[in-house]
Assembly symmetry: C2
């Protein structure tokens, strides 16, 4: 393990630090597999669309996720990691999440796309500040590419206007999605030392970047606040 | 209906000819919806992949189809047509094709991707020569973007090497796919006057471009010959 030189005390994390590097490979691995899976699931949900234009919209969201996947995979390869190997530890939890949250219809699929994308964007933004400059640029670049949310918000609001009973069912669905995401994320982090060291590096005192414990609590508060805001935007109580 | 000026006897079809224009809108409509649906189905089949790398490969093939879709849709809009309306007549036959050919497993999904993509490319090439210069450039541009076939050929050959019984089942499957494609195409063309006039314009004597009847027979012969070649490339009898 290497340390920053004394002359550059705030040089930030360095990829030639093997502990930091392992954490970044883990992080890019989980993000890459999450994006690949989001692509496949969103694209499949597009088949539920009632109109061709809707199908094309959801397909477009899926394709954006695939672009993110390729960026993350290529970065893993650049770092000398085997992308498949880096993603492998996250196959079971990510697939488990999707199996326990298969949308029953088109509207549930849309809410899942919007809620999942939103939490993903928030998490990317939170974690970006602990990354080395290059990895940070990649993660922030992925963020810029999102933003099909107006379509989802409009469609859900229209569906509720047409049949107000829809709101209760979709509100429950949104809460279940958020709960499943948080519990899967927690379980995954608990099993991956390098990854959780990156996130709670400040707490471990090991010279790694990351949140301290109070900050982790605040991060979760921010994630759930933003989730609540998104649910409200769709006309749903969170 | 306008005719080429005498001074330019071989000027080719013109978009200000309403009959030709209607045929092009029909053609772009069926191609666009075929690509959108191919995207959705291929992406969903990617979930059947045994390995992450395989999943990413099939996902990449799907994304190429989505790019084609957006090119075709944008061209429809450029021509002043409503893309959704142009695609609508083809929803039932294209979805019907996919419902009657849902792959039972990963290998069937791969063969379908390869066979479908191959026949699509052949058909684009056949029809391109009857199009005005701009539409032709678009259709030929879509063609350039394909070519993930090496991956499929290798994977199918490996699967047959590992278990030779696979070959018989997949050969039957490939024949069924080709049969379903031809019969759906025939039924669709029979219902769409403008479209079939474009393809058999030479036979109608109405001044439209297109094949004469003997040439249609030869086109089908070429499509099935190329299909046979692709089946053989995978190690399958056609």
């Amino acid at each position: 393990m290497t340390y920053p030189l004394e002359s550059e005390p705030h040089a930030g994390p360095r990829l030639d630090d093997p502990e930091y590097r392992a954490a970044v490979v883990d992080l890019l691995g989980v993000l890459a597999f999450t994006e690949l899976t989001a692509f496949v699931r969103l694209a499949a949900d597009a088949a539920l669309a009632p109109r061709i234009g809707d199908e094309a919209q959801l397909a477009g969201m899926a394709v954006a996720e695939f672009r993110h996947f390729t960026l993350l995979r290529d970065r893993l390869a650049e770092l000398g990691a085997d992308p498949e190997q880096a993603m492998q530890p996250f196959v079971a939890p990510v697939n488990g999440f999707h199996e326990s949250t298969a949308p029953a219809d088109w509207l549930e699929g849309l809410v899942k796309a919007y809620v999942g994308d939103g939490v993903g964007v928030d998490f990317y933004r939170e974690v970006a500040r602990f990354l080395d400059t290059e990895t940070q640029a990649l993660v922030l670049g992925v963020l810029e590419d999102t933003g099909h949310s107006a379509f989802v918000v409009t469609t859900i609001r229209e569906a509720i206007a047409a049949d107000p009973r829809v709101a209760g069912r979709l509100a429950l669905w949104g809460r279940r999605l958020m709960g499943e995401m948080l519990s899967q994320a927690q379980r995954t982090a608990a099993e991956r030392d390098a990854l959780s060291n990156l996130l709670v590096g400040g707490a471990s005192g090991a010279g790694m970047p990351g949140f301290d414990l109070a900050e982790i609590g605040r991060m979760f508060a921010r994630l759930t606040e933003n989730h609540t805001r998104r649910m409200q935007a769709m006309g749903l109580s969170a």
